[in-house]
């Protein structure tokens, strides 16, 4: 299973990459929405894990792109800070499937991803 991870914080990206690789996923890790769009154009993924707050192209624009421009039905999991309910609601409206709050619980992340990839 191949996961595209989009997160602008370098340390969080390292942690997500490490954890998902340990669980046996193939991971493509990118730092921003523009890079994620490029990877989506080049390759197929089984799941998108994306931060919502990113400079330039944010997570909402990325979700809109996946659902509306590319018409992809792959599961989308958002990463967000506690207290960002408004943006989470917008992301659900755009077609996101689930979310995990940061700092993320590795076990919770694992369970949520496994559930969506069943």
């Amino acid at each position: 299973m191949k996961i595209l991870v989009c997160e602008d914080d370098a340390m969080t990206l390292m942690a997500l990459n490490h954890r998902l690789l340990q669980e046996g996923y193939e991971v493509v890790a990118v730092h921003d929405g523009a890079e994620a769009k490029q990877k989506l154009a080049e390759s197929q993924f089984d799941l998108l894990l994306t931060d919502l707050h990113m400079p330039l192209i944010d997570g909402l624009e990325l979700i809109r792109h996946v659902r509306n421009d590319l018409n992809l039905t792959i599961p989308i999991v958002m990463l967000t800070r506690i207290g960002a309910e408004d943006i989470v609601m917008k992301a659900f409206e755009l077609g996101a499937d689930d979310y995990v709050t940061k700092p993320f619980s590795p076990n919770e992340l694992s369970i949520r991803i496994k559930r969506l990839l069943k």
């Binding site: 969080t12 390292m14 490490h18 954890r19």
Partner: protein, 112 residues
């Protein structure tokens, strides 16, 4: 002020090299952020302070600096508007002092 790597070790799944890599990332990059936050606070550039603190704060979660994370959240919230300069500077100074102390401790403990 000290650090707590229990969360980082939970993520690592027992991989101590990963723990050291993250610690090295913090020790290397935090001083640049802290300098920029200090400068932006001195210049009362609150949008920049807010942006920098927002980018920097997640690193404190990995290093287990919960009290400092709380101070950073306070500074980020204050910077949404035009805060009391003295209060914002005091918060920035405390964050800087906490981080500098922890960076020195991490360097010694991990022989970085």
């Amino acid at each position: 002020m000290n650090y707590n790597l229990s969360y980082l070790r939970e993520i690592s799944g027992g991989d101590e090299m990963f723990v050291k890599n993250i610690v090295t990332e913090f020790v290397t990059n935090a001083p640049k952020f802290l300098d920029q936050i200090h400068l932006a606070t001195t210049r009362a550039d609150w949008p920049l302070v807010r942006s920098l603190v927002h980018q920097f704060a997640p690193q404190l979660d990995f290093i287990g600096m919960n009290e400092t994370r709380f101070l950073a959240d306070q500074l980020e919230d204050l910077s949404k508007n035009t805060p009391d300069h003295h209060l914002a500077s005091e918060l920035a100074d405390r964050i800087l002092a906490d981080c500098n102390l922890v960076i020195e401790n991490l360097k010694a403990d991990f022989q970085i």
